[in-house]
């Protein structure tokens, strides 16, 4: 279950100019850069996930390059890491990979529903050392099976 909140803690000052509304101060360049990078990353992973799915059905970078008339080097660069792809390049990639076209959507930044799940919380605790020591203290642990 998520927790609905307004921007909190560390994020609050970061989002201050955005929260100020249309009459607010200029948004600093470094924050614009941060969000540009996020957008690049999101688009890249959207396209990469399409490619990975089609790769399982036999698509290769070479085949994609041939189909959309680009060199293998260009495809390698586009699929290797996030970059400032042009809209035309995104269109070519989606058409060539999965015969799809872009359907833009966006989401509000200022009202956030925090994700409760942290992978750091998950996973097995590794008992790496269990040592018997003589000491002034004992530790009593009650263990029970997780639901």
């Amino acid at each position: 279950m998520g927790v609905t909140s307004v921007i909190t803690s560390q994020a609050a000052p970061f989002f201050a100019e955005l929260a100020a509304g249309h009459a607010g101060p200029p948004i600093p360049e470094e924050k614009l850069v941060y969000f540009r990078t996020r957008s690049r990353n999101r688009l890249f992973h959207f396209i990469l996930s399409k490619f990975v799915a089609e790769q399982k059905k036999g698509l290769t970078k070479a085949a994609l390059a041939r189909r959309i008339g680009k060199s293998p080097e260009v495809i390698n660069r586009w699929l290797g890491s996030p970059s400032n792809l042009r809209v035309d390049s995104i269109s070519d990639l989606l058409i060539g990979i999965s015969a799809e076209e872009l359907a833009p959507a966006s989401e509000l930044l200022l009202e956030q529903t925090a994700r409760n799940y942290r992978p750091w919380d998950d996973g097995e605790i590794k008992i790496e050392k269990v040592e018997t020591k003589t000491s002034a203290e004992t530790v009593k642990l009650s263990l029970h099976k997780a639901a």
């Binding site: 290797g80 529903t113 040592e131 020591k133 002034a136 009650s142």
Partner: protein, 232 residues
């Protein structure tokens, strides 16, 4: 001699609420309660030490930091833990607007490491092309780098995997040019002395903070990371 006090902290009584009982959610067994009593010298003491507890203690002590995405809605596939050096880069304060822009771009890339379903990986050292992360030579040392290429000069952040999908980022070096706000030399060619020093620095940082633990050392990419993609 083992660090007795560190071992005791796993009893969850001294960990902050955000890091104690929640950290054992979804495991077959979890600590329901922990009780420490004085029982006099001579009684046996069981010391349970896990790397996770050790990292949580280092976070408590301000020696390591967990990166939390600024957008709380972000997907969480992996965990990024940072040294003081990396935390100061991505959290500020910054000396100039130029430094702030470059460091926030780096922050967005580290946050992307947390949230992206797929990450492109260079699995074989020296064969890196445009992948997002890569395993460095020699592979059995378990040192990796995250590549932040744009804008020039590119940055390389060195890290090791404490667990699958849990990476500890230690140091950051410029790829090819001096950066006034980074106190590290450019790495230059992949077989340069500077690369070797950067890898050695990462190992030394680990040894200082986690002397009794080893990073994971697997034979398959899936041993390290969920969603690792080697492009063909």
């Amino acid at each position: 001699m083992p660090d007795v006090s560190a071992g005791l902290t796993l009893g969850a009584v001294s960990l902050p609420s955000s890091l104690s009982l929640r950290s054992v959610r979804s495991v077959p067994f979890k600590a329901k309660s922990a009780k420490m009593t004085r029982a006099g010298i001579g009684n046996p003491l069981l010391i349970y030490k896990s790397m996770r507890a050790e990292i949580n203690r280092l976070i408590d002590d301000g020696k390591l930091f967990e990166l939390n995405p600024l957008n709380e809605k972000d997907n969480r596939v992996r965990t990024v833990i940072m040294s003081r050096e990396i935390n100061s880069l991505v959290s500020g304060p910054w000396a100039s607007a130029e430094m702030a822009a470059r460091c926030l771009r780096l922050r967005a890339e580290l946050e992307n490491f947390i949230s992206a379903e797929e990450i492109t990986v260079c699995w074989e050292p020296f064969e890196a092309d445009v992948e997002q992360i890569g395993r460095l030579d020699p592979p059995h040392w378990g040192v990796w780098d995250l590549r932040s290429r744009d804008p020039k000069p590119g940055l390389r952040v060195f890290f090791r995997f404490a667990d699958k999908d849990v990476a500890i980022f230690f140091t950051c070096s410029p790829r090819s040019l001096n950066v006034s706000w980074l106190d590290r030399l450019p790495l230059f060619d992949r077989k340069s002395r500077e690369w070797k020093l950067a890898i050695a620095d990462c190992l030394a940082e680990w040894k200082t903070l986690l002397p009794n633990h080893e990073p994971i050392n697997g034979s398959h990419l899936s041993d390290y990371i969920t969603g690792g993609t080697v492009l063909r």
